[in-house]
């Protein structure tokens, strides 16, 4: 376990250093993404200027929700940048490289790339949470835990979606739509949706665990939500690893072992 952590840290350090090689591009990508998110949030400023709240959610709650989702998404695509390309890597036989090395295939392949704009999302998430004005140590701790759960659920869900490539070949379009859908739904309060929709958002498209549930947990501690979040994160992660391993047994390629550049 410690060995794998060291390995991960070394990978992330290498990714960060290689990204910072082009300093201006690095800063532009981070700042660009922060501004991009801010532009979307203007919607909620205008919305709450006219309507005070919707189903119990006000502007401060939206700051927390956006904070959790942006930080989770940012952390996910920064630390495990290949989460958006896994389907293509499987379909094009590029897993050969990872299979030939003595490291966990899923972990290694996902962490081999960092999406730099993810750092912009992550920082934006922290700023958004700061704007909500909840500075008590326990609220900050709950936010941090929410982000860890959000990141885990997102990465696990996307791993499952991308792993469909083992069975259907070209899955990148489906995986991209799944990614767009889960992010879109996570950015809205759960109270907007009715019974059936809620069931979907807690199961096959678990957006609730990336947005609303952690956001409500930040608002007030509850054992029930803590249990829900932990169960979702651990359960989905286990499922993602299982699906990937099962898929890997079906993996085949035309021997694409080559120097990784």
């Amino acid at each position: 376990m410690i060995r794998e952590m060291r390995f991960l840290l070394a990978l992330w350090k290498a990714n960060l250093l290689s990204a910072m090689e082009y300093r201006v591009s690095f800063i532009l990508q981070v700042l660009g993404m922060m501004l991009n998110n801010a532009a979307y949030f203007v919607f909620w400023f205008i919305f709450f200027e006219r309507f005070e709240s919707v189903r119990g959610w006000g502007l401060v709650d939206m700051f927390v929700l956006f904070g959790i989702v942006a930080a989770s998404f940012g952390l996910g695509v920064f630390l495990f940048g290949n989460i958006r390309f896994l389907a293509d890597m499987i379909a094009e036989g590029r897993m050969d490289y990872y299979l030939s090395l003595p490291r966990p295939v899923l972990l290694h392949s996902l962490a081999s790339r960092s999406t730099i704009s993810g750092l912009g999302d992550f920082i934006y998430g922290l700023i958004s949470f700061a704007l909500a004005g909840q500075y008590s140590p326990d609220a900050v701790l709950r936010f941090a835990l929410g982000v860890v759960v959000g990141t885990t659920v997102l990465v696990a869900f996307l791993t499952i979606a991308q792993s469909l490539a083992f069975w259907i070949g070209s899955a990148s379009m489906i995986a991209m739509q799944a990614s767009n859908a889960i992010v879109t739904f996570s950015l809205y309060p759960l109270t907007l949706f009715d019974g059936t929709a809620k069931l979907i958002l807690f199961t096959i498209l678990p957006a609730a665990f990336i947005g609303s549930v952690p956001a409500e947990f930040v608002r007030a501690f509850s054992w029930e939500q803590l249990a829900q979040m932990s169960l979702a994160a651990v359960g989905l992660l286990a499922l993602a690893i299982w699906v990937f391993q099962r898929g890997l047994r079906r993996y085949e390629s035309g021997s694409a072992i080559q120097v990784q550049v």
């Binding site: 979307y40 205008i46 189903r55 379009m173 767009n180 859908a181």
Partner: protein, 264 residues
């Protein structure tokens, strides 16, 4: 007459081209369905919580049909600026310049040809869902007028985006400008929320800028085709279009003089 036939042929080729990958076409509409469904949940809850049937002159059905048209306009248009910028940067613009057509009109025909099929699919899918959720559009007869307004909106958008693309003659990398423009359309163009829900000062400000005429105008005309509403919006579209078309042709003529092609 013969010249127009050239552009119609280019337009038709692009249109047929866009139909070559139906899976791609339909999967793009998937996001349209998700957006409309989420918007419905949000606005339904909002209308219920205020206890009003009409907010800022719009009913729930008006708001949803407005958003459907606004999203269609946005999701169907092609990403042209980057393409023009690349053509300018790598010099491939030269291969288009020596052909017997106007470069800008060629790009416009390509752009409209690419967008049309995408728009049709988005309108059908998005329209069907919104119809199911809130009932028929308030003024179905406004559809031809809306399609005309969408055409004007895309042409205006084309002029602005092409202008940004042509900045590559001077600036090389124009992606930042394109990005800023897309965010201005998103916020001040009324894509995410109708301008009617803006505070009054921001609404008048947005209406005095060109961005509202690339999305808000066609969507608003669809839900209220009255003369009082249509005339200022259509007038605004035509005025901004005339202005930007003029600037674009001027900049294009100037840019041609700067064009330097190194071999190839």
């Amino acid at each position: 007459m013969k010249k127009i036939a050239i552009y119609i042929a280019i337009f038709r080729t692009q249109l047929i081209n866009s139909m070559a990958y139906p899976a791609d076409l339909f999967s793009r509409s998937f996001m349209m369905l998700i957006f409309m469904w989420v918007f419905f949940q949000l606005w339904q809850a909002t209308y219920l919580s205020t206890g009003q049937n009409v907010i800022a002159g719009l009913t729930l059905a008006d708001t949803l049909w407005y958003l459907m048209v606004a999203e269609t306009v946005l999701l169907s248009k092609p990403r042209l600026g980057q393409e023009i910028a690349t053509q300018v940067k790598d010099g491939s613009v030269a291969y288009l310049l020596n052909k017997p057509y106007n470069f800008l009109l060629y790009q416009l025909s390509v752009s409209l040809g690419e967008s049309l099929m995408r728009m049709a699919v988005n309108l059908v899918f998005g329209g069907a869902l919104v119809w199911l959720l809130v009932g028929p559009p308030p003024h179905p007869a406004a559809l031809p007028l809306t399609l005309l307004a969408i055409l004007l909106a895309w042409t205006l958008d084309f002029c602005i985006v092409a202008l940004i693309g042509l900045l590559a003659f001077v600036l090389e990398d124009v992606s930042a400008f394109e990005w800023i423009y897309s965010k201005l359309v998103l916020v001040l163009g009324g894509v995410l929320i109708p301008l009617d829900f803006f505070p009054e000062w921001l609404r008048s400000f947005a209406l005095s800028l060109p961005f509202a005429y690339t999305t808000y105008a066609p969507a608003r005309m669809f839900i209220d085709p009255s003369i009082g509403n249509v005339l200022p919006l259509l007038g605004g579209q035509l005025a901004w279009l005339a202005l930007f078309a003029l600037i674009l042709s001027f900049v294009f003529a100037r840019g041609m003089r700067r064009l330097a092609i190194n071999g190839g």
